[in-house]
């Protein structure tokens, strides 16, 4: 099927394609259906529908100069571009653009690791480099630095960071955008900009001081549409000498509050890596009576059953990085603080291992206590095992997950907020008749991002129904859930293109001043609206009429 960019004639599109071919070589411009197929979101709610977000063409530059040429041509013919790197982004829309008919700028050929400095602890990479590539580069050279990898590790550090992705080691490094340091960007007019100290031509500290002087525009390029990032620096964690972990459990439901307070304290002093919260009561969810109590928030009944099973209400697994002595000291200090705050807390020492762990130690799944944490990601080792989880689940028994079926909402980093969010999400699910199993009295947050919690909700909306009607119904429920969540102060951190307007609609403070400001900037910096129009709900004037169009 021939798709044209919106408002572009077939003649002009053909002329633009010729210019793209001249810029990158004919073999790197893709226009036929088979070639375009990989750039679809194969998990889309609107797959094969007339409004599916399919590009009109794709172009694969090999250099910043080629990206500049593509942008200039796009400006000439007013063709929207959508840049992607080498990641898969399966949970958030894959490679599909926000505007049907955009030209995808596939940066996979720009796959060079430009620099890794294991003394000053940074890397400089291009968008086509994957976490696995960067890990291999470091291992091959026996450099003593770690990457912080998402799971699975086939994505791009640049793509993941720009989408505000996260990892699993120490807090600073887990925030992948926060841990970037210096970027090179092709702007909408084709000029190349460098952020931070990169703006000072003779600087040797581009990847050490990201603020430079004056306002720092770097944030505009994260989940943004103000430029195409062609190089990006990242701070790397020095390889520690030792790693150990330990499990803390606390008996009562209300004990979550002092537990979170204590872990926040340890975490913000950089004494622990990612805390992994859970509930030992999950073991009782097979028991119908307990399960009903957990969904009904019948805390007296839950407590009674937990006591008879000799189970505590909450747990957190802590990671410690450093030397053998310092990790032991931090673990002992953590025990001391929690014991002081929570009477009856129990502590189980985990593993205590010299770094780097051997492959056998990384694959080891037995330990002093059961854990759901995949060890490789605590060690900055990219893996693929997370795809175990894409099979049948209780929530999706009839088919594997073929749609985006969940929301991750920001929740304040306190026990009180978690206990309230459990009830809020459950109440919303009940009112909207959402077929979901997640909002219940033992749901726990993830602390990928150090300074805030994310809690899953809205999962299971599809109920396994991947028919067009089932997907449409699920999308509508997700939109209503987003709106209800926002009324209570919960907003999402990331979304697939078809939900980005809906998420952005919730960030409405002072009559949407943030969005109005962004769009004012967008119109000034990208007057033809060619760079990823609509991304994260920021629409240029040229395409602003498309805001919310996917809701129909």
């Amino acid at each position: 099927m021939a798709i044209l960019p919106p408002g572009v004639s077939a003649e002009n599109f053909a002329a633009a394609i010729k210019e793209f071919e001249a810029a990158v070589g004919k073999e790197w411009v893709f226009t036929n259906d088979e070639d375009i197929h990989p750039y679809r979101d194969h998990f889309s709610y609107i797959k094969d529908e007339p409004n599916e977000l399919i590009p009109s063409a794709a172009v694969g530059p090999d250099s910043t100069e080629q990206v500049q040429a593509i942008v200039r041509t796009a400006n000439k013919y007013k063709i929207p571009l959508y840049a992607i790197s080498t990641g898969k982004n399966f949970a958030y829309g894959g490679p599909s653009p926000n505007v049907r008919g955009s030209v995808t700028v596939d940066l996979k050929r720009m796959n060079r690791v430009l620099e890794v400095d294991a003394k000053r602890n940074f890397a400089l990479v291009e968008p086509g480099v994957s976490y696995i590539d960067l890990y291999r580069y470091i291992q091959d050279r026996n450099l003593k630095v770690w990457i912080d990898t998402p799971d699975p590790g086939w994505g791009s550090p640049i793509g993941n960071a720009l989408d505000h992705g996260i990892g699993y080691t120490m807090g600073f490094y887990r925030d992948h955008f926060g841990a970037h340091c210096g970027m090179e960007v092709v702007l909408a007019n084709g000029e190349v900009l460098r952020t931070g100290m990169g703006a000072l031509p003779a600087s040797r500290s581009w990847h050490e001081y990201k603020h430079g002087f004056g306002p720092d525009p770097a944030g505009l390029f994260g989940q943004g549409n103000f430029g195409i990032v062609t190089k990006m620096g990242f701070r790397l964690m020095p390889q520690p000498e030792h790693w150990r972990n330990g499990l803390v459990t606390v008996p009562k439901r209300g004990d979550l509050i002092p537990l979170v307070d204590t872990v926040n304290y340890l975490s913000d002093l950089s004494m622990t890596g990612e805390p992994w919260y859970g509930s030992p009561l999950r073991a009782l969810m097979q028991n119908t009576e307990f399960r009903d109590a957990a969904f009904a928030f019948d805390e007296a009944k839950m407590d009674a059953q937990a006591a008879s099973a000799n189970l505590h209400s909450w747990q957190v697994e802590l990671q410690f990085y450093g030397s053998e002595k310092t990790t032991l000291a931090n673990w002992e200090y953590a025990q001391e603080l929690v014991a002081r705050a929570v009477p009856g807390a129990r502590f189980t020492a985990g593993e205590s291992l010299k770094v780097p762990l051997t492959p056998e130690q990384i694959d080891e799944t037995t330990g002093p206590y059961p854990t759901n944490m995949r060890r490789n990601i605590t060690q900055g080792v990219p893996g693929l095992g997370v795809w175990y989880q894409t099979g049948r689940t209780d929530q999706n028994p009839n088919a594997w997950n073929e749609t985006h079926i969940g929301l991750f909402s920001l929740v304040a980093r306190s026990g009180e907020a978690v206990l309230k969010a459990q009830k809020d999400f459950a109440d919303i699910a009940r009112r909207l008749e959402v077929p979901t199993l997640f909002p219940n009295a033992i749901a726990t947050p993830v602390q990928w991002y150090q300074f805030g919690f994310l809690m899953g909700n809205g999962f299971g909306l599809g109920g396994g129904d991947t028919s067009p009607a089932g997907k449409k119904k699920a999308a509508e429920l997700l939109r209503r859930t987003l709106a209800e969540n926002a009324k209570l102060g919960y907003g999402d951190y990331r979304a697939p293109p078809m939900l980005q307007d809906d998420v952005a609609d919730q960030y409405s403070f002072n009559d949407f001043v943030l969005r109005r400001f962004m769009e004012q900037l967008k119109d000034a910096a990208d007057p033809n609206g060619i760079l990823s129009p609509g991304r994260a709900g920021v629409w240029p004037a040229a395409h602003r009429s498309l805001r919310g169009a996917l809701r129909s």
Binding site: E27, F30, G60, G94, P95, K108, R109, G385, Q389, G391
Partner: protein
């Protein structure tokens, strides 16, 4: 150096659905070329996978054993090999493992040429859904129906012996009784062949 064709498929080219191309006659495949399998990926947790792999090994095909997680196989072997050149490989694995390989294969100019799903049905039967070159599919289906104890072997035979055709793809559903070991398996197994896109056959 990444070729145009490798790059082309490198975003994602994964579809859970089987193709619904029309049935073709076996005669159409009779003179088609045969694949030279370079590797067979097995999941040692499943006897069916082990049996099919054994058959492949007896035909001289190298084996790669996994237990579901393909990280080590990818990092230490396939990533390096596929950087050099696309290859032809087969396997009997879970859907998750196939998903990972299929996704990476698309990055490196390869595609799934044959795909079989072997799902447990409630009535104690295994329902086989095959898609791929018609001769291969027919042989796999024949084997599946002939002897429930031997379907993995028949599958291994079909995957290592049958020809493939440039344009002929077929889809076929049949069932066989479940072996006792199947009861322990909670999810379907998938048999598959991944081959260079420049090879014969169509993506399924």
């Amino acid at each position: 150096m990444t070729s145009r064709r490798q790059f082309l498929q490198s975003s994602i080219a994964v579809s859970g659905a089987l193709c619904g191309a029309p049935l073709a006659t076996r005669a159409a495949d009779s003179e088609a070329p045969r694949l030279r399998l370079e590797l067979f990926v097995l999941d040692r947790r499943f006897p069916e996978s082990v049996a099919a792999a054994k058959h492949a090994a007896e035909r001289g095909v190298a084996l790669a054993a996994t237990e579901g997680d393909l990280t080590s196989l990818w990092y230490h072997d396939l990533d390096l090999r596929w950087q050099a050149a696309p290859m032809t490989l087969a396997g009997v694995t879970t859907r998750g493992a196939l998903f990972v390989l299929e996704t990476f294969a698309a990055d490196r100019g390869m595609r799934v040429l044959y795909r079989g799903e072997h799902a447990l049905a409630r009535a104690g039967a295994v329902v086989h859904t095959f898609a791929g070159p018609s001769e291969l599919v027919a042989a796999a289906a024949d084997g599946a129906q002939a002897d429930w104890q031997a379907w993995p072997l028949a599958l291994g035979h079909a995957m290592t012996h049958c020809s493939v055709a440039r344009t002929v793809a077929t889809r076929l559903v049949c069932s066989s009784a479940a072996a006792s070991s199947d009861a322990a398996r909670g999810e379907p197994l998938f048999s598959w062949i991944i081959a260079p896109r420049s090879n014969v056959g169509a993506t399924v």
